[in-house]
Structures are given as structure tokens and as C-alpha cells.
């Protein structure tokens, strides 16, 4: 049942995702006179970055955990004003499972609400902006399925929205700039952080000094984190990785080893660090299934993922479909805001202000430099033992994946999945996809999830029939 007014003409623009990119695009587009529908799976705007603490937690100052909270607060206020004026229809708790062409417009199919209120929704629009963001990249290691091993971004999200700590003594590990932010927030919230274990070397950025110099803001951010860590006596171990988590009921300690340039653990360098939680993440992966389902072209990025191929005005390769934010490559909240504004101008048929375009180019160059530095080295698969689960949903071990590759003729993640069921469970390979592709000796493959989320069969059965 359409939740938008289906008897009037479809709105000019539907935006999927109310994170920094989608939110900025919505308010800018509405300001430029477009009628906009903004759809998001979450309950509140802000996406993965801006998170509201749950009410009643007594957290009066969410801005303490966010850089640039004001940039968000202004846009949220603008969203409410545009909603009031009828220029934006904001639909939270709507998970879009597919976007399909519908004559010269588009239909977005969504699952709306949860529990007993769950309903089917079909929305229509003349243009679509996909601002679906990213999810965390996980590289498995022995013990990663133990309780109290959490995603680094997940730990940050927990802190921001609920002010909940995963433990009292939390090792932060993986790769990417997010680790420093996470360690800083954990420490600020009262946890001890015995070490931040970073697989890359920050010296790798040195090769991209020009990009860094053009982004003093970013440098400042990293410096802030760095000095915060120093103040709190947090050890930063670069070129190191957690190669195993130990414990029975929950994690009790981790093994940390030094890595060579390809992320291969160096023999004789392993040591144990006691802890009661581990926050681990290896960067972010653009969430592309709605776009690839429409046939949008992708490009390989410096961090070893795939992102959408976009032109300077945020167009995808499919006419009428646009994208902004992390779907175009991981680059941070600032860049996402900027790209949302650029897309809104272009969709409204306005000239994109030159200053926006310049800042975008600068931030994208910086993101590429950072991505190259944190790209996982091929040697990480050396952490896996044959009995390590790689796909948690279906409990598929590294040994079975290696058998599929070495003995059964699988050469890519899809065939490994067919032969082992890895990636067939609830998360549909979001968790194990990058790891499985690496074990198959394959590059990253474009997301193939024709359904972006589980859909009640009843919703499908009750869709209006095509031509009678």
C-alpha cells in the first residue's frame, strides 16, 4: 500500500538514506524547489555518523562524541521545517528492498515499520538518489566469534546512541582512521584501552603528502585523536594485528603480532594482551545492492572495495539514478554532506557551486590516499586456521572454503558460496564477503543482493499484479 499520496503526481526526487549525504541532499533539494521523499531504514535521521542517544539516558550533549554536530543539527532543523511546509516527506523506519524502473519514473519497494506494524510500501519518484552509506569490513581471525568481540564502528555506534561500553578493558584493532576515534570515545567514556592495534603504518600517508596538505582539517582531526590518545597513555601499535582472541565465555585476552608489509604475521613477535572486550574493524565497505540491482557501474577503489562510478555531479551510469556519500567511496561525513549538496544542485538542474566541486575533489583525493594506506595486505589470510569460522551465519570454516577453491574449482566468492553456503545467511555476505573473496583469490565483486533486506513473503504475494 503506497504510503505516499499516490493520487498526485510522483515527487521529483526520492532519496534512500538519511545519513549525512541523504539529509544534506534532501534539505538542499527542497530549498531549490524540488518535492522530495526521504526514506531511511533507521528511526531517526543522521545515518551511521550522527546518532542520537536514546532518550532517558541523560546524555544532554551528543555533540561531545561528534565532530561537527552543528552541521547536522542545522540540517535536521531544516528537514523539520521542510516537512512542515510539505516540501519533504520524511519516512523513517522504511527499508527499501528494491528500486525498479516504472515507465519514465521509479518505484521503490520498502518494508515499513517493525513488529505488528510492519507493512509494505511502494513509493514513486521521477529521480532517485541512493545515499545508502557503508557497512563495516570484517576480516576474521581465530576467536572473532567470541562474545565481547564487537565491530569497531559498532562500538562507536553503541557509545553514541546508548552510551554503552562493550567492556572495561577494550583493545581496539583492525585498520583505518576510525580506530583512533573509537579508542578516543571509549577512553572518554571511562574504558581502559590497553592498545590500539593498527595493521597499516601511518607513514604510508607520507607518500600522499600533497593530499594531506590540502586537507589541514583532516590532519587536525587525526592530531586531535592522536593527542587524546597520548594524554590517556594509550599505546598505538602500527603494523600490528590481533591474530587471535582467547576466552571461553567471552574474550579474555588477544594475541597481537607484528606484520610485514603484506600483513603477514612475523614469527616470534606474538604476545598476549589481557582484555575483556575487543573492538575490531578493517574500514568500511560501500553498500551498493540497490544500485547494482539497477545496473549502475562500479569502480575499484584504493582501499580494495568497490564503489559506484559517478560523474562530477554525482550521476551513476543509469540515467535518473544519482548517488552521494560513501556509496561513491569511503570518505567521511564531511564529504558525504558535500556530495549530497552537489547532487541536489545537479538534480534540480542548477549549476553546482564551484567551491563545492573544489572541496569535493580535495576530500576525494584525501580519501583515496587514506584508503590506499589502509588497504588490507594479502597476507592477512595467514591469520586464519582451517577451523576458523569465516561465515558466521552458516558456520563455514576457512578450511571448507579453501577446499572449495583448491579442490573443487571455485574461483570467486559466488562459487564458494554455492559450494559452501558461505554468505547465504541472514547478513547475506555483508560480514564474510570480503574475506571469502580474498580466500577465493578474487577481487571484490559487486554486491548482488536483489533484495536489500528480508521481505515478508506476504508483501510480495500482495503486490499489485502487472497488467492484470
Amino acid at each position: 500500500m503506497p504510503s505516499s499520496a499516490s493520487d498526485t503526481a510522483p515527487p521529483d526526487l526520492a532519496i534512500v538514506g538519511a545519513g549525512p549525504a541523504g539529509l544534506a541532499a534532501a534539505v538542499t533539494a527542497a530549498g531549490l524547489g524540488l518535492r522530495v521523499t526521504l526514506v531511511d531504514a533507521g528511526e531517526r535521521p543522521g545515518g551511521q555518523y550522527y546518532r542520537h542517544p536514546a532518550p532517558g539516558l541523560g546524555a544532554e550533549r551528543p555533540e561531545a562524541l561528534h565532530h561537527g554536530w552543528s552541521a547536522f543539527a542545522e540540517r535536521e532543523a531544516a528537514l523539520r521545517a521542510h516537512e512542515e511546509a510539505g516540501r519533504i516527506t520524511y519516512l523513517p523506519a522504511h527499508h527499501v528492498w528494491a528500486v525498479v524502473p516504472d515507465g519514465d519514473a521509479w518505484t521503490l519497494h520498502a518494508v515499513a515499520g517493525t513488529g505488528p506494524d510492519e507493512a509494505a510500501a511502494a513509493l514513486h519518484a521521477r529521480a532517485v538518489l541512493l545515499a545508502t552509506g557503508s557497512y563495516e569490513r570484517q576480516l576474521p581471525f581465530p576467536g572473532w566469534t567470541l562474545p565481547a568481540v564487537v565491530g569497531a564502528g559498532g562500538a562507536q555506534a553503541m557509545l553514541k546512541s546508548g552510551l554503552v561500553l562493550p567492556g572495561k578493558r577494550v583493545v581496539v584493532a583492525g585498520s583505518g582512521p576510525l580506530l583512533l576515534a573509537v579508542a578516543g570515545s571509549l577512553a572518554a567514556a571511562g574504558a581502559r584501552v590497553p592498545a590500539v592495534v593498527e595493521a597499516a603504518a601511518y607513514s604510508a600517508y607520507a607518500g600522499h603528502l600533497p593530499a594531506l596538505l590540502r586537507n589541514p582539517g583532516k590532519l587536525g582531526e587525526a592530531a586531535t585523536y592522536g593527542s587524546a590518545l597520548l594524554r590517556r597513555h594509550i599505546r598505538l601499535l602500527t603494523r600490528h594485528a590481533v591474530t587471535e582472541a582467547h576466552g571461553t565465555d567471552r574474550v579474555e585476552a588477544v594475541t597481537v603480532a607484528r606484520l610485514d608489509r603484506d600483513w603477514r604475521p612475523l614469527p616470534g613477535t606474538a604476545r598476549r594482551i589481557p582484555c575483556d572486550a575487543l573492538a575490531v574493524g578493517h574500514g568500511l565497505v560501500p553498500q551498493l545492492e540497490l544500485a547494482t540491482g539497477l545496473g549502475c557501474a562500479t569502480r575499484p577503489t584504493a582501499d580494495g572495495t568497490l564503489a559506484l562510478a559517478l560523474d562530477a555531479e554525482q550521476r551513476t551510469s543509469v540515467a535518473g539514478i544519482w548517488s552521494a556519500g560513501e556509496t561513491g567511496g569511503i570518505g567521511g561525513a564531511q564529504l558525504a554532506l558535500l556530495e549530497g549538496e552537489i547532487a541536489a544542485h545537479a538534480i534540480a538542474g542548477r549549476t553546482v557551486p564551484a567551491a563545492l566541486a573544489r572541496r569535493r575533489a580535495r576530500l576525494r583525493a584525501f580519501a583515496a590516499a587514506m584508503g590506499a594506506a589502509h588497504r588490507p595486505g594479502d597476507g592477512w589470510t595467514g591469520w586464519l586456521r582451517d577451523d576458523t569460522d569465516v561465515c558466521r551465519c552458516e558456520e563455514v570454516t576457512a578450511g571448507r572454503i579453501r577446499e572449495a577453491v583448491d579442490e573443487l574449482g571455485a574461483r570467486d566468492a559466488r562459487t564458494v558460496k554455492l559450494l559452501t553456503r558461505s554468505g547465504m545467511g541472514w547478513c547475506q555476505g555483508r560480514m564474510c564477503g570480503p574475506a571469502v573473496a580474498a580466500l577465493a583469490g578474487d577481487g571484490p565483486a559487486p554486491d548482488r543482493r536483489p533484495l536489500s533486506c528480508p521481505v515478508p513473503l506476504r508483501h510480495l504475494a500482495q503486490l499489485p499484479p502487472a497488467d492484470g
Partner: protein, 383 residues
């Protein structure tokens, strides 16, 4: 590329059909190579459901092939690793009304004469066989010979058991010929020389034929499958409504579907598959999903509350008369075809392998391959 010992045959295609041919050709003592541009089961086999059905085939050459295959799959299940998930679960065809039950009865009569076991079940017996079936069907037929394998595993294990030399990630770009006929194939990596080449390229078999200078009108017929969340194992058979049989035999281009519903060992229920001729169109058809879901819920109302976790599609290889092409091509000595199995290639693979092995060695085939003559579509069928 390995040139250790001379090859007897090169098989193009590491789908289930190519894998079964490799298996039976190697067992017949031939030295075999299999070449595929992608991984094993990377074509339509990876999109298939693994139904080994006799129930949906009317009496005729395809049913004979299916019956031969049903026996061969039983033998294979005893020798291949259990990962192929062979399960002789039986099929249950239900009739919504007396008219379709009558039609089903006639259909089953013909099948029985060909050697199919078909047991009529009344409305009450249906409920015993499938307790969660919706009220409504007036009766149906149980087909104990219908079975099931996991297609990608079946292809991979057949190929591994064949001992053939396997060349994956190598696209065939040419068929080498000489005065005596076929000499081998050219791939992006080099040449593989053999006096016989088998075209087991499935939906892309027409292009391989073209490379060899002959024509074979293989076309794609798209199908979607729905996969639910893991559910308690309550669907016991392969269950489908009687109108499915009409769809399979239909040549219509329009979207057709009659959902086959079945539980899997891992828990998800598979609902498939639609049939439509839209070329290699990879876009999502919401209408296909709607029909599958509606039909599945009509058979098993509890499914309406289940979640669909994923959907996938594939392109069945079909020929104008809906029979595969199996056997030597009289237009080019040394070239054999084994493609165009449409929605039954997994089921028909072992029998196809046996027929091709017989053609390669000159042995007597267990049944006549004449109805599957590859040159039957040529303007002047020279053979």
C-alpha cells in the same frame, strides 16, 4: 597449458552437463580435458534448483532420458561424496479441481506406460503426505522417483571424480579444424589439441557452434527463484500445482510460473521458478517475485509469514522443440553437442554423459539419441 599425454576429448563447459560427460568419458577410458571461461558451476548450473524430476515430463524422449538419469543419479549418490545432498524425497503434484485432476490422471497414465511410478492420492492422503498444505486441492499424484541434488556440489564432485584435467578461467575463442575435422580448441591461454570437442556450453552453446561454423539455435529462458529464511522442516516433498506441467511444455514468451515448493536440509524453503523469454535481461522482475510468492502461499499458507531472504535468477538454455541437442554434429566430424537442456539439465546430466561417452567410444547407447540430433534444426539436416 599441460601437454603431458594426448587428449581424446576436450569438453567446453564446467557446468553439470560438462562435468557429467567428463565423468562418464573418463570412466570409459578416455583422456579428458574440461575448459571453462569461469569457475565450475559458474553458468546456469549455479542458478539451478537441483530438482531431478520425472513427474513434470510427458511420455516421450525427454522422459526416457529423465528415467535413465534417475537411475544413474541413484548410482552416483552411492559413490560421490554426501555433499551433493542427493535426496530421494519424491514429488507431489496437486490438482486444484476435478478438471485438472482428470488431466493429471491422463498425464500419469502415459507416464506409467513409460516406466514412471505415479501413485494417486486423495484429498485426505495429500494432507497426510503434506500436513501443512492448504485445504482445497481435490487430489494429486505422488511421484516417488523425483529426487534432489545440490547442483553446484554435484557438478564440482562429478568433475573432481572424473580425474579430467580442468582448465578454469580460460575462454574458448576458436575451434581448431583440419582436413579430418576437429583438431581441438583455442583458448585465451593457448591451444588444447584433441580429435573430439564437446560443446557443453549450456545457454552459450549457440556461440560455440558458431565458432565451429555450424548453427544451433540455443536461446535463454529466464527464471527467478525465491529463498526463505531457514524454517523448521515441514515441507517434505517437492510440491507443485498441476498447471506447472503446462508451463514447462509451453513455448510462450510471456512470464509463466507455477511454483515448486520444497524444503532444503539447511532449512530455507526454495520457491521456483518462473519462465520467461527476455534474452539475457538481468534486471529484477517484481512481477516474477509476486507470482512465486502468491503461488507458494496458496499451496502452503504458513509461508505467507516467512521472510524471503534472497532471490536469484538464471538463464535456462532452450532449443525450439524443448529437447536438448546431444550427439555428434554431422556437419563437422569430431564436434559433438550436449546443450539446450532448458529447465532440466541437472536432472538430465548423467544420461547425457552416458550418451556422449557412448558416441565417443562407439559403444551402444542405452537408449536412442536420435530425437536429440543436433542438426535437426538445420534447413537441410545433413544426417
Amino acid at each position: 597449458m599441460s601437454k603431458r599425454h594426448p587428449l581424446d576429448v576436450v569438453i567446453i563447459g564446467a557446468g553439470v552437463v560438462g562435468a557429467a560427460i567428463a565423468y562418464y568419458a573418463a570412466r570409459a577410458g578416455l583422456s579428458v580435458a574440461v575448459v571453462d571461461r569461469g569457475p565450475v558451476a559458474g553458468g546456469t548450473t549455479g542458478a539451478g534448483e537441483g530438482n531431478l524430476l520425472v513427474s513434470d515430463k510427458e511420455a516421450g524422449p525427454e522422459l526416457d532420458l529423465a528415467l535413465l538419469s534417475a537411475g544413474l543419479w541413484r548410482e552416483l549418490a552411492a559413490v560421490l561424496p554426501h555433499e551433493i545432498e542427493y535426496e530421494a524425497k519424491g514429488g507431489l503434484v496437486v490438482a486444484p479441481d476435478e478438471a485438472s485432476l482428470g488431466a493429471l490422471r491422463d498425464f500419469a497414465e502415459g507416464q506409467r506406460a513409460a516406466g514412471v511410478e505415479a501413485v494417486e492420492a486423495g484429498a485426505d492422503q495429500l494432507r497426510e503426505l503434506e500436513p501443512h498444505l492448504a485445504p482445497g486441492p481435490v487430489g494429486g499424484f505422488l511421484y516417488p522417483q523425483d529426487a534432489q541434488v545440490q547442483p553446484a556440489q554435484a557438478a564440482a564432485r562429478l568433475l573432481a571424480a572424473s580425474g579430467a584435467s580442468v582448465h578454469l578461467g580460460e575462454e574458448v575463442t576458436g575451434i581448431l579444424t583440419g582436413p579430418g575435422g576437429v583438431r581441438g580448441v583455442r583458448t585465451r591461454g593457448g591451444e588444447l589439441l584433441a580429435p573430439a570437442v564437446v560443446n557443453a556450453a549450456g545457454t552459450w552453446g549457440g556461440r560455440i557452434a558458431e565458432l565451429a561454423g555450424v548453427s544451433l539455435p540455443v536461446l535463454p529462458r529466464r527464471g527467478f527463484v525465491l529463498v526463505t529464511e531457514p524454517l523448521p522442516r515441514v515441507v517434505r516433498h517437492k510440491v507443485y500445482a498441476a498447471d506447472y506441467i503446462a508451463d514447462v511444455a509451453s513455448g510462450s514468451a510471456a512470464l509463466q510460473s507455477s511454483a515448486v515448493v520444497e524444503g532444503t536440509p539447511a532449512g530455507p524453503v526454495l520457491i521456483g521458478a518462473t519462465r520467461e523469454r527476455v534474452g539475457f535481461d538481468r534486471s529484477l522482475s517484481v512481477e516474477a517475485l509476486r507470482r512465486l510468492a502468491a503461488q507458494a502461499a496458496a499451496l502452503f499458507p504458513f509461508l505467507a509469514d516467512a521472510r524471503v531472504l534472497r532471490t536469484y535468477h538464471g538463464f535456462r538454455p532452450y532449443l525450439p522443440d524443448h529437447l536438448p541437442a546431444i550427439g555428434p554434429d554431422p556437419r563437422l566430424p569430431g564436434l559433438l553437442h550436449a546443450c539446450g537442456h532448458e529447465g532440466a539439465g541437472i536432472g538430465l546430466a548423467p544420461a547425457t554423459g552416458v550418451l556422449i561417452a557412448a558416441a565417443l567410444t562407439g559403444a551402444r547407447p542405452p537408449l536412442s539419441a536420435d530425437p536429440f540430433r543436433p542438426a535437426r534444426f538445420a534447413a537441410d539436416p545433413a544426417g
